[in-house]
Chain length 658, copies 2
Amino acid sequence: MTDYKTLTGQPFKREDFDSLLKRKVFLWQSFEPYGSVKGLFDYGPPLEGLESEVINIWRDHFIRHEKMMALKCSMLTPHDVLKTSGHVDRFADYMCKDPKNGEILRTDHLIKDVLEARLQSDRAARGLAAAPAEDDAKKKKKKAGAVKAAEKLDESTVAEYEHILATLDDCTGDDMGKLIVQHNIKNPSTGNDVEPPVAVNLMFKTQIGATSQEPAYLRPETAQGQFLSFQKLVEYSDGQMPMASASIGYSFRNELSPRSGLLRVREFLMAEIEHFVDPEGGKAHPKFHTVANVKLPLLSRQIQKSGKTTPEQIAIGEAVNSKMVDNETLGYFLVRIMLFMQKIGIDMNKLRFRQHMENEMAHYASDCWDCELLNSYGWTECVGCADRSAYDLSVHEAATNTNLKVREMLKEPKHITEWVAVLDKKKSGPRFKKDAKAVEAALDMLSQDLKEKLSLDLENEGKIEVDVDQVESGKVELTKDLVTIERQSRTETTREYTPNVIEPSFGIGRILYSLIEHCYWTRENDPARSVLSFPPPVAPIKVLVVPLSRNAAFSQHIAALESALDAKHISYRVDQSGVSIGKRYSRNDELGIPFGVTVDFDTVKDGTVTLRDRDSTRQVRADVKEIVRAIGRMVKGKEVWKDVQARLPVFETGAEEE
Amino acid sequence: MTDYKTLTGQPFKREDFDSLLKRKVFLWQSFEPYGSVKGLFDYGPPLEGLESEVINIWRDHFIRHEKMMALKCSMLTPHDVLKTSGHVDRFADYMCKDPKNGEILRTDHLIKDVLEARLQSDRAARGLAAAPAEDDAKKKKKKAGAVKAAEKLDESTVAEYEHILATLDDCTGDDMGKLIVQHNIKNPSTGNDVEPPVAVNLMFKTQIGATSQEPAYLRPETAQGQFLSFQKLVEYSDGQMPMASASIGYSFRNELSPRSGLLRVREFLMAEIEHFVDPEGGKAHPKFHTVANVKLPLLSRQIQKSGKTTPEQIAIGEAVNSKMVDNETLGYFLVRIMLFMQKIGIDMNKLRFRQHMENEMAHYASDCWDCELLNSYGWTECVGCADRSAYDLSVHEAATNTNLKVREMLKEPKHITEWVAVLDKKKSGPRFKKDAKAVEAALDMLSQDLKEKLSLDLENEGKIEVDVDQVESGKVELTKDLVTIERQSRTETTREYTPNVIEPSFGIGRILYSLIEHCYWTRENDPARSVLSFPPPVAPIKVLVVPLSRNAAFSQHIAALESALDAKHISYRVDQSGVSIGKRYSRNDELGIPFGVTVDFDTVKDGTVTLRDRDSTRQVRADVKEIVRAIGRMVKGKEVWKDVQARLPVFETGAEEE
């Protein structure tokens, strides 16, 4: 992504950005003194604080605002649960081993990398594209003879490769094994042939208790715990539908060779919502009208099929009407997801909703949209929003023989009149003995038409013959004294159904990483001075307190400021180091601290302090109470800097910032 | 605990309490449709919400207020880390198997249960105590012949048993095995002999990646991740001491037969603080003077040794002065822990700090106090507050060859004059070849006295002899041209040391469980009407909105109320069910909702609503804005009900509550 730009339109330099994250202790690979472990990260104070604020906003925006039922379910999960859900059999990646150096390659990545390289080389040969860029990885591949800078392919080969790439997600291991042989795909970094693909399950396996024979796993998603709590949710919500549960919790994926930093890790925080809805009535949402006019950047299946990648700005009401988005509930959540992203400070120019292609979705899903955020690694799936239909509840119900349905009182009772055949049990019992139940069941199963015909036969001939597989002769004779067949009326007042599930599923780590990139820029007058423009409500520390110097006269004023901030539960840092105020601000801009308060000699005279805005570096001056009040309002999102600057006296400073 | 009482002094009935938790979906054993798993619990909306509020208060009370550095470290932990920390070898329980029925018993529990039963039976025989109560478990044991209701023991046997019980925690598996044979201890529920004790490690084992040969574990505590982040913490805090990190995260313990509900589970949330302090200067705490007068209920080692169990109320300043509590930092945290407990609603009459006996502490700990909460299971350790000395940093430093020390600028540079022996390397290299380094090291290691003596010898005789183990002869001769020994002066400006660690470690699940019990009581006029008196800041839902009826005239007023509550981010529930207002309030008292707002026909007339206090059932009446403002202040802890009742018009109601 060489054309990826920062917030202010500057080219994004990954080295500088990574160095900032390291310098300010945002994150690092876990267990560094022991050599670090790939795919596991520790969060330092700035990132832990950011996560905590983002989670609080998520809770408020979804759980509180939508009155969802928050759940916390166990991470340790017994085998049978994940067997039913399909994870034991299907939560796997296919791997190929390079037998000569032992390298393990993800099969789909291998095929994709090799075919894409060949296509790019073909485009270069046709003069349609530049030759592949010569970064280190490419050079290595070239050396191994896997990629030629420019080599033309047959038209039919190009079409075949494109078809393979488009359908790769649907391939089984065998399919991929055949492709590797057929297209002579080798390990690009060595040129060696690879062994046939082997499925490797990605769940972490363990065992609960000392004596259990069955394995257990660390859950790969929080969703299953929520489905298995379904009866509790129905109880808590008095069976009212729609209803939604939400879980914020960790899931695990035993990646074989993790890469891309925080974007693909082995242990990650998810926030998942399961919204249960009656499939009858088109999955309407009671609050849809409140968002119908909101426009979203939608990259529909149709646009993607036309080969374009630019989303259209479409009002969600229109998108649901035209059936581009399957239903109101899905549409409502897409809007809520976007509003959440906006609230935490995601750049709206780096957000889109991409619809899954038919072959991307699980077989049971009826529609799925990913909220993708653009970062320096490319467009990254950060929220999946899928309609999982009734799949999960149905499979767990079948596997456990429990009732995972909702029973609904019908508004209008349903009157039903139909033919009913009833055995006189006092007589049928002794007559049919062990077959009595089978006879009764066979009678029940008869169609309405047949029952009507048999009632006439019974009337006319005094007996009928009914097929019963379970008895030896395959049929039984029933006389008038054993059976009556007549039209009966009854009234149904309830209806039972399995709800469908709309599931918005948030990967918190990916969102946090994208957010930090989106907030990153450098001051124009000095590219070494970088800034993280976290919105005040999500910034991990809100205020930097900077006394002009260590002069003892400032102490009581610093103390007063501290207790005013403490009283409002606002987090702050006091920087009493010897360097200039400008340097101290600069250093803390990199932590994304939105506000700075200076205590100087005027403070000693009149009790006023200055308040500095990180992004504009503009300052106002007022007394401590007024300044802390303004900070409090901005931290809660009730005011923004522009409002404060408009109502408090502006303070013009000299060259302090330099 | 038959004498355990509720908040209002009523006898506590566990069945009623458990039934409330079940009915209101607070928690349940995980994976119920699959038969549930012992020791794993799911939290429903009320408990998840309670936990979230308690965690927010914890963050504010500790992390923000004390300016701690929050960390989030990985749960998956490689083998080597936990080998160094001692968990691979020592995080184990000893188990005995009953070979006849396969039952597995924790060895220490087995010995304790049997010996205590014998002692109680002895006391009964002496008329000093009632015969053991005949609950179901006891009846079973009696049936198995393991306990006799009253059987006198020798004086010496009593003394021996008491000694064993007091030192049981120090026993190895072998020790316990001998005790079982020596004292003829059998499985009390069957009367069978048991097999010798076997150590079973309590960590969940798994594997990171597909090819790793080393096992990994789910961490048994969050502490190790914090110790391994030490260098990052020093970097972030610019090396200023004392400093503290804090982690809120999950830990795991593969209990063999979990019991006692939430008090002993396999997967649990901890909040752990590691406070790093310079061991020189007596571990003083800069804010100790702000808490010195706070009195705490301290059950010291001395009181326990005297056989008493009633704590003394002692000011922490006094306790530290008298060395009952080892140091100021430990004392400061004990106070902060108590204040936290008070804030979330723990009954101060059910809290005490119990000091560990010498034999209870880890070998490296210098003092340890548990904050214990009384609940219906007895006094329960909910926070451990230990001085771990420099143990953890030292062992990790040694195992990884990294520097886990703090370097401090000395206020006064230190001038050191001492004897120094220096080899002339140009000559000693060729002369001693591979042994040169060993010779140099041997010289360095000589004592000051010896160096002084050798300098004279060298002066007088032109050569000296020095012991060097590594050379064949065990010594080398050094001539004047090879070595000089003289007094040298140097100035040290820095000092390096390994900080000591004070670790307050909170078990969140145990605290939550105790909190719910502490808040539980039943209305005097109707024992079936139970109440959970959660303080407004921790209550999972803050407001119940109850329209008098479903009359359409109320809709717009309900909507106005909802948007006023939404604007203040206050969680609420609307109960439009058909039952009486009193019943609706009653039902929600069990969820601990502190406030109720009624919309009635007067609301339609003048826009006023009533506000009801859960605990007193008293009501006030005012307009929506005023009522929502009062709720907001009480939820933030800025006001309590008494204040609101004093300033808003009291509303007298009829028999609605009945």
